[in-house]
């Protein structure tokens, strides 16, 4: 039959698919993530620790505008916990008297940004704008591996490298000069669950959390995908048998 022809189609397909592959300028160390592969899920304990780091460290400078407090249910927090977390922020609103006022945050609110606007952020950050972290895991070539590498990639600049004013050397940042000072270090946070807060552990946890907020649909997507692929594989088999049956009376 035409198996070799199908193989030719497949070869063409992969040839095309490989075309956009980019030469990565700096080789990123490949990490193992709980959310890798078609069966991957988010390590909820790691994501919760990651949220603690986001709350205590990252959110001092970085916004996460697309995410709602209610989305935290996806990393295993209970409704009561989410309510309590949301209630720790004050959200600007208009009072009954028509005057601007503030109210307690609700699960239906977006994560509160550290700065009211971009100009305020730049003014406070020496002119640099800390990027929004809602989809940062998808917005960087290399994804989770890149974020982990960046967070653990701070070193002293090699001899002869002249650093800009207030810039920090990072092995994995494009151009190596990054405005953000090393945000994480051994013992930067005290984990509620007692995990030892090493730099690696912190970077791994917050990367897991960032991967979750960028892909909140991932677990459902992959679960659905397994079912769809299994169904289609069976349907392909059946259809092929029917096709053979229909064509059995034809010389071809």
């Amino acid at each position: 039959m035409s198996v070799h022809r199908l193989a030719a189609v497949a070869a063409l397909l992969t040839g095309f698919a490989a075309a956009p592959a980019f030469a990565q300028e700096i080789e990123l160390p490949k990490q193992n993530w709980s959310f890798d592969g078609p069966f991957g899920t988010f390590d909820k304990a790691a994501a919760q620790r990651g949220f603690q780091i986001y709350k205590d460290v990252c959110s001092n400078c970085h916004s996460m505008k697309q995410v709602y407090y209610r989305n935290l249910s996806g990393i295993g927090l209970s409704d009561a916990q989410i309510k309590a977390i949301a209630a720790t922020v004050d959200v600007p609103t208009i009072g009954d008297d028509g005057q601007p006022t503030e109210r307690k945050g609700l699960p239906a609110d977006h994560f509160k940004s550290p700065y009211p606007n971009e100009r305020a952020a730049r003014a406070a950050q020496n002119g640099a704008l800390p990027p929004d972290q809602s989809v940062i895991e998808k917005a960087r070539e290399g994804g989770a591996d890149y974020i982990f590498a960046l967070l653990t990639g701070y070193t002293d600049p090699p001899a002869g490298v002249k650093m800009g004013d207030g810039m920090n050397y990072n092995k994995y940042f494009p151009g190596h000069q990054i405005a953000m000072a090393a945000p994480l270090s051994d013992g930067r946070v005290d984990y509620i669950d007692g995990t030892k807060p090493t730099l690696e552990q912190e970077a791994r946890d917050v990367t897991t959390f960032l991967a979750y907020v960028a892909n909140p649909e991932m677990e459902e997507r992959k679960r659905t995908g397994i079912r769809v692929v299994l169904f289609l594989a069976m349907l392909s088999g059946l259809t092929y048998v029917v096709k053979r049956q229909v064509w059995s009376d034809v010389d071809h």
Partner: protein, 423 residues
């Protein structure tokens, strides 16, 4: 019964309709009993797959448009809202985004099939030209669709591509202002691109209809590239090709689903998840993978106008291909030289894609120029010259001859001249 169609359909209701509007008779004629060469291989599935793909794009697109906000202030956030809060929004968007890639994979294979088996040759020249028109419409649609999420690549891709028109002498700048609806890519640009992105697919449906009408006038080509001689050579479209297309569709959906569910961003660019920022230019502005070969051709000449002319010529040349090809034989199976030329041409196209995805530095500049040269050499020199010089292999007498008992294998001397026997 003046003016009424005589229908064979027994069901009284359908018969009533069919006598007044014979769509059922037409469907039966064009898709039921339509005589189709019996020797198609799986490359002949891709036309039907393209049709399926177009439908998937339109259906997902309609639902995306219900939730999309075409404004520079709201576009990026509305796409994220689709991903996070719209029921199955992530599925709609990932199917639509990867569907564009699948559409180009399917259509490119469909076109290479046509090139290899000579489907563009007489009498199917117009069928082929309509197909090239569909490709152009698809490219315009895909380009404008990519602008809609209003990420960095959307914005800068739109800026680079619309700026190409400024290379046109005299009227170039006015055309660009017209495309933008202003003096830079901005809200009016996004608005008109959204409008046109919604319009063009329906234009594509119209042109696809013409493509199919033209196909059903000439009938399909086949892997032997010889004409149908008798009813022995054909099968009714249903059930033989409906079931075969159905099987092909299952495999196509398997590939599609693997992308959507397990690697939905594999073919995209990370930069497009950064909101558009007119003040920050990405390090490398790269179009989607399906435009990379053309992007490589564009960048192969150091002159803007020259690059634009070359890029548009690379497609325009396809319109005149039926007249560039001088060979009387359609299928590359019987063209020993053209066969290898096709292999080289496919390699050249993949190479162009590779070049288009890399920064134009070092060796890749030369590789890009050479593969661009070969692209045009193929159509302008090799195809016409080889068509004249090549000695094609003897053609089989009919489509059914090679498979009928006693007909297999090399034909005995003199056999090919014998008139066909009626069985």
């Amino acid at each position: 019964m003046v003016g009424l169609h005589t229908s064979d359909i027994k069901n009284p209701v359908i018969n009533w309709i069919d006598t007044r509007l014979p769509i059922f008779t037409m469907m039966q004629k064009e898709y039921g009993v339509f005589p189709t060469p019996k020797n198609f291989n799986y490359f002949w599935n891709f036309g039907a797959l393209a049709m399926v793909n177009l439908m998937i794009m339109i259906v997902t697109g309609i639902f995306l448009a219900m939730n999309y906000n075409a404004s520079t202030a709201g576009a990026f956030d509305s796409v994220e809202r689709i991903m996070r809060d719209v029921n199955y929004g992530w599925l709609l968007r990932y199917v639509h985004a990867n569907g564009a890639s699948m559409f180009f994979i399917v259509v490119y294979i469909h076109m290479f099939r046509s090139l290899y088996y000579g489907s563009y040759k007489k009498p199917r020249e117009l069928l082929w030209m309509i197909g090239v028109a569909i490709l152009l419409l698809m490219m315009a649609t895909a380009f404008m669709g990519y602008v809609l999420p209003w990420g960095q690549m959307s914005y800068w891709g739109a800026t680079v591509i619309t700026n190409l028109f400024s290379a046109i002498p005299l009227v170039g700048d006015s055309i660009v202002t017209l495309l933008w609806g202003g003096f830079s890519v901005d809200n009016p640009t996004l608005n008109r691109f959204f409008s046109l992105h919604y319009l063009l697919p329906f234009v594509i449906i119209g042109v696809v209809f013409l493509h199919i009408v033209a196909l059903h006038v000439t009938g399909s080509n086949n892997p032997l590239g010889i004409d149908v001689k008798s009813s022995q050579d054909t099968l009714p479209f249903h059930p033989y090709y409906t079931v075969k297309d159905l099987f092909g569709m299952c495999i196509y959906l398997l590939v599609f689903a693997s992308l959507v569910f397990f690697a939905p961003n594999y073919l995209g660019h990370a930069d497009n998840y950064i909101p558009a920022n007119p003040l920050v230019t990405p390090t490398h502005i790269v179009p989607e993978w399906y435009f990379l070969p053309f992007y490589a051709i564009l960048r192969s000449v150091p002159s803007k106008l020259g690059g634009v002319i070359l890029m548009f010529s690379s497609i325009a040349i396809l319109f005149v291909l039926p007249w560039l090809d001088t060979s009387p034989v359609r299928s590359a199976r019987f063209r020993p030289i053209y066969r290898w030329m096709m292999v080289a041409f496919v390699v050249d196209c993949v190479l162009l894609g590779e070049v288009g995805g890399r920064p134009p530095e070092g060796i890749w500049v030369v590789v890009g120029q050479l593969s661009t040269l070969y692209y045009f050499l193929h159509f302008l020199v090799l195809v016409p010259v080889v068509g004249k010089m090549e000695h094609p292999l003897p053609l089989p007498e009919s489509i059914s001859r090679p498979v009928l008992p006693s007909g297999g294998g090399p034909l005995p001397a003199g056999y090919a001249a014998k008139p066909m026997e009626k069985v």
